[in-house]
Symmetry: C2
Subunit: 204 residues, 2 copies
């Protein structure tokens, strides 16, 4: 269980574990003792590795929670690029975000626990900001590209922030309603965002 099968044929010592494996161990401890009360030493000991080694698998304790969830941003960028050029911005946004949040059937449970930690634990809330910034940057970049503006301009920034807010609100809703489907919630949320926002500003 702890000896990770690694592609043979490569010189050098084989890793004694893996990110996923460590993630599993850590999540069990987080669930049992809480995130803050679980120390890196605890995780390392439970995984049978040295403390120093832990930090070779994850840059920080916080990063454990995000896990493979990271690195998908490039994928999101591609999805944006793949949308038809004539499509309204908010519609592209909805489609991409919903698609981006689709997870495998078996992963749903872990995804839930993951988001629960991210949204509820203060230390992770703070840390998440940096991730969110990247996420927003991708959205702003897209919005800017579509409207012929710069990503740093007001409108793309506001859109990106609002989109993030919508996504977070949807996550919260999903967490509160165990039976619901995340993608469905996100879909209606972003549809509502597109329809309802700016109601009494421009159109009144």
């Amino acid at each position: 269980m702890s000896t990770a099968a690694s592609p043979p044929g490569r010189p050098g010592r084989r890793p004694s574990t893996s990110q996923v494996e460590l993630e599993n161990v850590a999540f069990r401890l987080f669930e049992r003792d809480g995130f803050d009360a679980t120390t890196v030493d605890d995780i390392a000991k439970a995984a049978g590795i040295g403390r120093r080694t832990f930090f070779r698998y994850f840059d920080s304790k916080n990063d454990v929670v995000w896990g493979a969830f990271t690195g998908h941003l490039e994928y999101m960028r591609e999805r944006f690029a793949a949308r038809p050029a004539g499509e309204p911005v908010m519609e592209s946004l909805r489609a991409v975000v919903v698609d981006f949040n689709r997870v495998d059937e078996g992963e749903t449970d872990r995804h839930r626990r993951r988001l629960e930690l991210i949204l509820r634990v203060p230390a992770l809330q703070a840390h998440s900001t940096l991730r969110y910034a990247d996420w927003r940057a991708v959205v702003a970049e897209f919005a800017a590209h579509r409207t012929g503006a710069h990503p740093g301009d007001l409108r793309p920034q506001a859109i990106a922030h609002a989109a993030l807010g919508t996504a977070l609100a949807a996550y919260e809703h999903w967490l509160g309603d165990p039976g619901s489907d995340l993608c469905a919630v996100l879909d209606t949320a972003f549809a509502e965002l597109a329809v309802g926002f700016g109601e009494e500003s421009r159109c009144s």
Copy 2:
């Protein structure tokens, strides 16, 4: 300079310094060596107090940067409550945010350095999230109150996030343009937000 004049007539030893004093000392060091490179020991030593005492004036090193900037949220809440009931949400928002960001003439410089730190130093960006959350909560609460929704609902949340994004974009703009007036920048930014948002969603 280091002996703080405190209201006499109170029993017990008098504080040997003050938050503002510590803030001054800290900001000087931040400016000279950078936020990360400045340790709490450095600040304490420079202020002539013990390290332990520092943490009685500020909960954390991060908190130094926010200083008296904190605790104003209640004031913002009041300002919202004072707006005429018939006023469009986005207009109230603009008025209150602009007013909320008005600082004394002599404080402008410090305010600038403060925001520079908050927006540029990663550690502070992360920490700021928790403050932003409170700020957003006030906005969402107002928006919800006005539209008969709950603060946790989608629309108030999206508005609050978008408002925060707009404010941050305005701050960035202000920092980049030394001659500009923060309130003026914020005013146009929020006016633009009210006018321009949802352009191609509802009205196209």
